[in-house]
Subunit: 490 residues, 2 copies
């Protein structure tokens, strides 16, 4: 079938609101027309072109002579308005059904959209029973409500926006590192390190052949011959690479077997981690962290404006100002010791009394961010004893600190954590020996034995980043499939 | 300290081979000079500029008056030649040590390199005892030898090339999908699906508090309340997304608890998986697979020419011709039935007799690729009974097939596997019920109940791709940290 002379028909169609055109065009070009995405149709300037779109119906309005649909295919938040003669209306055109539509893309007479599709053919590809479908045509479903349907929630506006943002943020983070000549390393998920002795590890063994019981062969109980865990951080593996590359990064899943169901924790979450060789100052690390945050956010604000706006309008109203503030201002830098002073000078009643030598609690972190005008704050030089073995000794007195830094941000608290790493063989050896870890980390000591260099790095929680930029309260709403204690759906 | 008028000194330095310059420049610009990467120094056109480089010594040649070093920082395979007066030579300048060098970048009188660094200062940042260091200054270490040192092998030429290639290939794959409007989805690592009932699953539970024993609380034996596994494929999760987006992809680790130590298997490996909505033909999928392969390879050949050449010259001599062939020719397409005919007509003695209805063995796959002129071959329409429940029924007779496709490539065999997915609710319901899986996959059936669309997808093994393009025999040499049965080092 040939394409109709749509440009000629175009004008009269708009004025007559389609009544006649459908019949004409039905005859003329049925399922012909260039197949394009809704996003491309919306930004197309070629009024009068014959197109074909495929997507899902987001709204249905039936008038005496005309049928109005909104059709979305996930390529943009804004749907395409489809106008058809009511002759084309059938029972199975319902909210949620999948459709394949051909017609002519025309300038819309309405101010709500610049173009609309004047349909000559509507085919329902997949029906959707509106009674059973958990989302309703005019329902305003909360993030909490849609979270109950992990296999269907991507079909809502809010979650499809979240997924487009997440994909763009991933691309922006990769670009930032690649533009700055970092080599991407796939650090392993399964590891025999119980890094930092952090506890809360998941252990891995093959599922038993029968009834999913563990292999109980006592001669060789472990698949890998040693106990193996899911990684809690790729840092040590990145440090291996910092012995051969100027800068490396990893971006992948990490795990904590934490028995908590708060709005801040997931059992499986994504971390961006970077390690930089020949770095002798926390300033270098802070520059990368601030650059990563701002460059990524800038890209999101420009490439996903519409999707980000949905969150700043409906999910966290007024949050755009907070984001503007973070983007405009230089991030603050204070030392841990200054942070403790600030806390001690405040009139706030804290549940935990702030004291030098103790970890900052979430309530402390929040206060410090507020105190700094709701602009992100780097807190540097933590007490030596609080930090893991790899943190570089500042060798100061009487308050002994390590060259570590956390980035605290509004709403979330700790977003990044990093440090210079102890590159001096003797100091590291002594510290590992004291902890009884020198055998387990003999390989790590060898990194310092052969061409050791000063280096440092940091990690950023990706879901927390999304919470911080979008104003999302519950971390479960930032990830496609949330895993936490007592929940692993699909 | 101010920068020296190096351009003026430049000429005479080259002729006098440095003897005087070092003393001059030592006084003049010690540790000043712009810090740049070796890669940028090598491609710099500003002869005479004062620079500072930091890296590792790859070779040392000491003459009466001069010291020649090759220094690499991982930014390129080619090292930078450093020339210094022998006055700057010290005992600790050895193969493998880390150095920080300032000097003047000059045109090299030798044909082997276009520039060299005439050093005014050499500082050994980290020593390297050449006796203990497992790699030797003029040693030609095999991939097998260096594999024994997973924490150090990135310091060899071959493995640092591999890691740069891997990073570039990752970037190229991401670009391919993003340029084609795919949304990237982080499919979960931990899942309660035992997808395809494939067996060989890893199971996950928290490490016990004491002695790494499993939690034996009989009331609630599972952290997630249900048995949880490491993913073997993100396909089903991508299918969720194909109900809301035109095209999605995932690129991440997948797992098999296979008790084998062959050169073809890893317990943890990377998969690229894509899923496309509104696709009704295997042709659409094959177009994406071939596009992905060729676009990615083209980028590698242009962006990593030097690193790829190392493999084509030293690891798999002559392999470049094989790669050229794959790039130039259109991939072949034959049906499974044709493949069986080809095998049956051959005079080859196979260990397994080829027969319609049975899986192709590796020996069969290799023969077919050879038969097709060592150009990749798509094999389509496999016997229905061989394929998992989600493969789309071709409803043909008497030889009942499903719309599935594998891509076979030289050296490796199966590189990709894909299919159209059964989008018809009733057919899928019947098949799942027969397999007793309709309860477990009730959520999957719901995807077909609400706005189902024809769709399909495929997966590509990333390490096998690297083997195929670089001519690497053992898959363990394509991944930063290899995991396989009885081995999980670091």
């Amino acid at each position: 079938m040939m394409a109709a002379p749509v440009t000629l028909l175009g004008r009269s169609l708009v004025t007559s609101r389609l009544c006649a055109c459908v019949i004409v065009s039905k005859r003329l070009y049925c399922s012909s027309g260039k197949r394009i995405r809704v996003h491309d149709a919306l930004t197309s300037l070629e009024a009068g072109s014959a197109i074909r779109i495929q997507g899902w119906v987001r709204s249905v309005r039936s008038q005496k002579h005309n049928l109005f649909l909104h059709v979305s295919d996930g390529s943009s938040l804004q749907p395409l308005q489809v106008v058809a003669s009511s002759d084309l209306n059938t029972r199975d055109i319902t909210f949620g059904c999948a459709v394949d539509i051909t017609g002519s893309l025309e300038k819309s007479p309405s101010k709500k959209q610049s173009v609309e599709l004047q349909a000559s053919r509507i085919e329902v590809v997949g029906e959707c029973n509106p009674v059973d479908f958990p989302f309703k045509i005019k329902g305003h479903h909360s993030l909490e409500y849609i979270r109950q349907f992990p296999h269907l929630r991507c079909r809502t506006n809010a979650f499809s926006s979240l997924l487009r943002i997440r994909s763009q943020a991933t691309a922006a983070i990769d670009s930032y590192f690649r533009d700055n000549n970092f080599v991407q390393i796939h650090t392993p998920v399964i590891t025999s390190n119980d890094c930092e002795g952090a506890g809360e590890l998941f252990q891995v063994e093959p599922a038993g052949k029968e009834g999913n019981e563990w292999n109980s062969d006592k001669e060789n109980p472990h698949f890998f011959s040693v106990p193996a865990y899911l990684t809690v951080s790729g840092q040590l593996h990145l440090e291996v690479m910092a012995g051969a590359f100027p800068a490396v990064y990893t971006f992948g899943p990490t795990f904590r077997a934490e028995n908590s169901q708060t709005r801040r924790h997931l059992a499986e979450f994504y971390m961006v981690e970077a390690e930089i060789a020949f770095t002798e100052s926390l300033k270098d690390l802070m520059k990368v962290m601030e650059g990563l945050f701002k460059t990524t956010t800038e890209k999101l604000l420009s490439h996903c404006a519409e999707d980000v706006e949905l969150f700043h309008k409906y999910v966290s109203p007024g949050y755009m100002e907070q984001v503007d503030l973070m983007m405009k201002r230089k991030f603050n830098v204070i030392s841990y010791t200054e942070a403790i002073d600030i806390l001690n000078c405040s009139s706030e009643q804290f549940t935990f009394k702030p004291e030098w030598g103790w970890d900052l609690q979430t309530e402390h972190e929040k206060y410090i961010v507020q105190h700094c005008g709701n602009v992100p704050v780097f807190v540097t030089d933590y007490p030596y004893e609080l930090k893991p073995f790899y943190a570089r000794d500042n060798q100061d007195q009487p308050r002994h600190t390590a060259a570590a830094v956390d980035l605290l941000v509004p709403g979330v608290g700790e977003l990044c954590g990093g440090s210079l790493r102890e590159e001096r063989l003797e100091l590291l050896k002594t510290r590992l020996a004291k902890a009884g870890l020198d055998d387990a980390y003999a390989w790590y000591l060898q990194l310092r034995e052969f061409g050791s260099v000063p280096h440092g790095g940091f990690g950023m929680g990706f879901e927390r980043y999304l919470q911080c930029v979008l104003g999302i309260d519950n971390i479960k709403d930032t990830i496609p499939f949330a895993r936490f204690s007592h929940s692993c759906v699909l």
